[in-house]
Symmetry: C2
Subunit: 335 residues, 2 copies
């Protein structure tokens, strides 16, 4: 049985969604979940759901918590008894096979790197986002915010890590890897993409060259690598646009009686649509390149999102991703 530690104090509405998500994950997937946070607070939240019943859930006490307002690096260094730190230690000690947090992203990355360490051959762990595409297969985009101002070899390592993730966890048979740029032709791009191209060609067998912003959703590539600044902008532009479109459709559909009736009749289509573009259906952002499994979620994550994050963490742990990444990097870069 896979054991996943859940930072019960991470998200904006913690511990509600965390506890409910853990209960659902244990019930639906049969995973063992360690709920990490102040014992009494977590117990109180569990009691709202009638307790853990016979589900494989345990509470691991952590007296402190890291907030969204905390300075990431400082909190990572000083708040050793925070739920996030205790989660990471549970993974490092083998008590858990992975951990999930919807807390301060910067602090979570810093703690994961500090407590778990990096996979040999990786210069910088990368945060990867998983995006839906029109064709159905999700695309892995990395880095989406852990590393700004990247060096070319970092992009090549991101490519190898993303390829392994797509293949081993998302089960894409032969993932095509693209470099995010501003035109498909090789000479189009900035200094970073032009310098990274020869490295990607020599290190990544399934490299397909430059892809453009629209390819995040076209399904033209299975893995897209970019600098963390660009990736983060792409992720947040998408979130903002989906919010705007939802709002616009809602307003339009409430404008007249005929449209309202139409909306009622077409409602299940909207539910489908929301589900497909809703990031909570996806499993959150895995931090690739650390020795251990760490899945980071948005602070606004609901119980469904937390449930899915536990599922992804378990898939990740079962896939033996880290040693595979290590092997691949060893083969290619002769670590």
């Amino acid at each position: 049985m896979v054991t996943i530690a859940v930072d019960a104090m991470g998200g904006d509405k913690a511990p509600g969604p965390e506890v409910e998500g853990a209960l659902r994950a244990a019930r639906e997937f049969g995973h063992r979940v360690l709920l990490v946070g102040p014992k009494s607070e977590v117990e109180h939240e569990l009691a709202k759901h009638g307790g853990k019943k016979s589900l494989p859930i345990e509470i691991v006490h952590a007296s402190d918590r890291i907030t969204m307002e905390d300075h990431a690096a400082k909190a990572a260094r000083t708040k050793r008894e925070s739920s996030m730190h205790v989660c990471a230690r549970a993974v490092a000690s083998g008590q858990a096979d992975g951990f999930v947090s919807a807390g301060n992203t910067g602090a979570c990355m810093a703690i994961a790197k500090m407590v778990l360490g990096k996979v040999p051959g990786v210069d910088r762990p990368a945060l990867s986002g998983v995006f839906p595409t029109h064709k159905g297969t999700p695309v892995v985009v990395l880095d989406v915010g852990a590393n700004v101002d990247c060096e070319p070899q970092m992009l090549a390592q991101f490519a190898l890590m993303g390829e392994a993730y797509s293949r081993l966890v998302l089960k894409v048979a032969r993932p095509r890897v693209g470099l995010l740029s501003i035109g498909e032709e090789e000479h189009k791009g900035n200094a970073l993409t032009r310098d990274a191209t020869p490295l990607l060609k020599s290190m990544v067998a399934s490299f397909i060259g430059n892809v453009e912003g629209r390819d995040l959703y076209s399904g033209h590539a299975d893995v897209i690598v970019c600098d963390g600044f660009v990736g983060n902008v792409a992720l947040k532009v998408s979130e903002g646009l989906v919010d705007m479109i939802r709002g616009m459709l809602k307003e339009s559909l409430q404008a007249t009686i005929t449209r309202k009736v139409g909306y009622l009749l077409a409602r299940s289509a909207f539910t489908d649509f929301k589900k497909r573009v809703d990031y909570s259906e996806y499993g959150g952002a895995p931090l690739l390149g650390v020795k251990g499994v760490c899945i980071i979620r948005h602070g606004r994550s609901d119980a469904n999102a937390m449930k899915n994050a536990v599922r992804v963490a378990a898939d990740f742990a079962s896939s033996n991703m880290n040693s595979r990444i290590e092997e691949e990097l060893r083969d290619v870069v002769k670590v």
Copy 2:
């Protein structure tokens, strides 16, 4: 009467949308339009619409054309008799007040810089995109692809140009200028945004600090500045996402009879929605910082898009934008 030159051979389906767009612009807005391209070909296209009738439309002959496959800088240097070159010369000579092209973006920028020259004080002209927002007021984003690998002072100049465009053409009373980054706090960003921040603070009175990707659609800022690589990715991610969402909704709504009926009843809402997210309703991307008016459109632009581009070019020409930009830069940077 404002005169706008239209590159009749620019877009993917030229000269169809160009000629129809010119006819509509002349009819609806009363602008004089010069249709620039091979005389016989343009005449033939005009004849399909029953000729120009009494509309203020003239054909200006250009024997050559620049294609999407042409190398931008080379085509700009060598294809002097292309419709794009002839358009730019019409503006430089005062024959036209501005020009519009849906052709090769790189070539168009190169020709505009070469033939029209830069506004004093501007290091690099910037391509600006105009995005719809949830609040209704459009946001100006620049640069969206003319300049990758920017220096900090270029971002400050983009801010001043974008602010002037928002105020003078889009009629926003006091445009708020944001710097696109990966977090609202000042220390969050990459080397470029951190170095640009003090410059923006000292040069741009209405600078509001960092904004995030989601603010492209939130209406939180009226002008957003960024490196052309990042801006281009943001633009194309948005296009890709809108296409995917349209496709998904269409599929979902065709899945069952009830939904189909719902769709029919709600159809006008979808038309509204398409109109609001459709870039063809917006006027294309003005190239700011060249001495003259140049509006660049997507190669896929339809007649409606071309019509709106003529309108924007005319508004731009009437606003005396370039001398205002020159004044502002002189005031701030002591050119």
